[in-house]
Every structure is written in C-alpha cells, then in structure tokens.
Point group: C2
DNA sequence: ACGTCTCTTCAAGAAAATTTGAACGAACTG
DNA sequence: CAGTTCGTTCAAATTTTCTTGAAGAGACGT
C-alpha cells in the first residue's frame, strides 16, 4: 500500500516533532474546559496559541487541530469575547493573527466574575423569592399546614444563606483575597437556624 | 368552559399552597446542578427532599416534579451514590423512602474530593507527561526547532505548575482550610519562569 | 410457590448540542 | 472597479445526551 506509506512519510515530514506533546496538552485543557462548561475546542485552541511563540492564523489552527474553519471561527470568537485570546495583525499580512492571553489567573477571575457569580446570585435571588412566596401563602394555611410551611421556611433560609455566602466567597476570590470555607461549613450547623432567627 | 374551571379547581385542591415556592426553589437548584455538570433532576429532587420534613417515596417525587418513575430512579440512584440522599424504610411500608443529606458543606466537599480533584490531577499529569515527551524529542531537534521546543517547555511548565497549585488549593478546600489565591496569581508573574528554573 | 408491588435497567424515541459546507460580506490588491 | 482572499454566519446534518415506556429482577405477603 504505497499510498499509506506516502501519507505516513508526508505526515512525518510535515508534522513538527513537538506536535504530539502539543496535542496532548491541548486535549487535557480541552477536557478541563469542557468540564467547566465551555466548548471543548476553546480549551484546545487556547492551548495551541498559548504554547506557540508567535501568533497564529485561523488556517494554522484549523490545520493543527484538524478542524473546519467555521469551527475555529466559532470557538475563537468566543475566546476573544472572554478575553482569552487577542487579535493581532502583521504589517503586510492580510490575515488575522491570534495570540493567547497568558495570564491564567486573569482569565479565571474573569470567568468567575462574569459567569459563576451571576449564576449563584440568581440562585440566591430565587431562594429569597421562594421564601417570599411562602410568607405570602402562610396566612392561608391551616394549622397543620403551618408546621410544614415553617419547616420549609427554615430550610429555604439556609439555602438562601448558603448561596449568599457562596456569592460572598466568590467575590473574595475574584478580588484575590483569602477565602475561609468555615463560613459555609457553619451554615450546616444545627445551631444555625436559631442563630439566624435571633 | 367548565372543564378548565374544573381542572383549575382540582389543581387548587390537590396542590398544597406551598408547592409553587417549592418548585421555584427546586428549579433554582436544578440550574445550579446542571451548570455544575450534574443532571438537572438531581438538584430538583434533592431540593424537594431537603424541603420536606419527612422522607418521601419515588412515587411522591415523581408526582411532585411530574417525572416518570424511571427518571426519578435514575437521578435518585446517582444522588445516593454521591451521598446526597439516603434510603430509609418504615415499619410496615414496603416502599423505599428517601431523605436528603442536609449538610451542604459535606456534599460540596465530597464532590470536590471525588470529581474536581481527580479531574485537575489528571490534567496535571497530562501536562507533566507532555513535558516528558518534549524532553524526549528535544535531542532530535534542529537548532531552530530547539528554540521553539524550549518556549513550549516554559509554557508547559507553567501549565503544570498552575494545575498542581490548583490541585493543592482544592485539597485545602476539601480539608476546610483557608485558601489563598495568591499562589495561583504568582504563577502568572513573568518572573515565575526564572524562579522556577533556579 | 404464586401473585403483587417496587425499583431498576434497557432500548427506542425525542431533544439538544455540535459540526460542517456553503453562502455571504468585508477588506484588500492590482 | 473587478477579482481575490479571508472571516463570519447560517441552516442542514450529525452526534450526543436525555427521556420515557416497557420489560426484568427482587422482595414480600398470602
């Protein structure tokens, strides 16, 4: 089968010898990113750029990762929106070049700030709102129901406190301050309810 | 339209007046859980149990959330595996009853321990492994390639350090200790490479 | 031991997401 | 100003994930 041999040969010639290591690293980051709720290709593309000494074109990325140009465009666009990749240009070159933002801490912070913080804030609001609805319904409750409603109120107040504490801690993280998980732990304490009501 | 009125009536009679608040809270938790990489029903089911003063049956859960019994079984099973829900039984009752683990901190810890910690550990290992492949390839590199390889080595070493630091911080979190994000931030420092190489 | 009641597993169907090729449009070149 | 070259967007197609109804297994009471 000469065609296979030729292909093999060609790939040996055209593939730089570090390509293997590069792709493994990119895949690891792809898995992390996918787990973290992003497109997997965002992690892969960012890593290729991060490991490259120079900015790269969409064509180069498509070639390296064997992706269609539209797939590259889509993920790159999102990376740019997240500030994880910057467009640059070269005199005389018509193409867009892309370079990775190299400060991982900055990136982490931005994601926590824009995404996780909002998410938990919304949850906190919803729990608070659920509590409100409950208060509203309480007067209409029969005495038997009232016990049940009161139990729910206690539990909802804990969920509310937990999410608010989470929000606070995330805020500290984003600010680069130290975080003490004790705050969260204490809310589980059975004494908590009394303490809070007081 | 008497049928609509009748339906309305019926739902008013059969649905406890706290149901609305309960479902809202459950949905909020469902969103959080889904975002966090779990099935959305896990969050919803757990919340219903958490808000309930008594243990519930699969039938009760299916009814409350309008889910098929298989959907309930699937998500409940996973919740039990994560220790978020416990099976209990009642004398004379044939059905299984389920109760929520109420210590949210315990649950958070368990997930970080079993899942996130492994994930980041694997990533750290992959980066280390990629570094190794690179070292292996280096002798075969031409001088021009070598510059490129050396750049990659520096970057890979940062990724490796970052993931290892992340692993360490997660470990501290799981242990309930304080966390200082400074560690992560410092790795982005350009001085880092020299410091590390020394 | 048989029939009933529960829970779980499975495979088919539905829904959601990712991926791709093609069309469109913008920016540059000659 | 035509002709390229790129980059983005879109809708169709594929893949993956979720959901469900039905069949299977286990336990209990009769």
């Amino acid at each position: 089968m000469p065609s296979v041999a030729a292909k093999q040969e060609e790939s040996n010639n055209s593939e730089p010898l570090w390509r293997e290591a590069e792709l493994h690293a990119a895949d690891a980051m792809g898995r992390l990113m996918e787990f973290w709720g992003f497109r997997r290709h965002m992690g892969r593309i960012w890593t290729i750029l991060y490991l490259s000494p120079e900015a790269m074109t969409t064509a180069g990325l498509a070639e390296t990762l064997q992706l269609s140009s539209s797939a590259v465009s889509l993920s790159l666009g999102e990376l740019v929106r997240w500030g994880a990749v910057r467009k640059t240009w070269r005199p005389g070159e018509r193409k867009d070049f892309y370079a990775a933002e190299t400060s991982v801490w900055k990136l982490l912070r931005r994601v926590y700030e824009r995404r996780e913080l909002n998410l938990i804030r919304e949850a906190a609001e919803t729990f608070a709102d659920a509590q409100r609805r409950l208060e509203e319904a309480r007067p209409r409750a029969t005495p038997k129901e009232r016990r049940r409603v009161d139990h729910m109120r206690k539990r909802l107040s804990r969920l509310s406190a937990l999410t608010k504490a989470g929000e606070r801690l995330l805020g500290l993280l984003v600010a680069g301050r130290m975080i003490d998980p004790k705050e969260l732990r204490e809310i589980d304490d059975p004494e908590f309810d009394e303490a809070r009501d007081a």
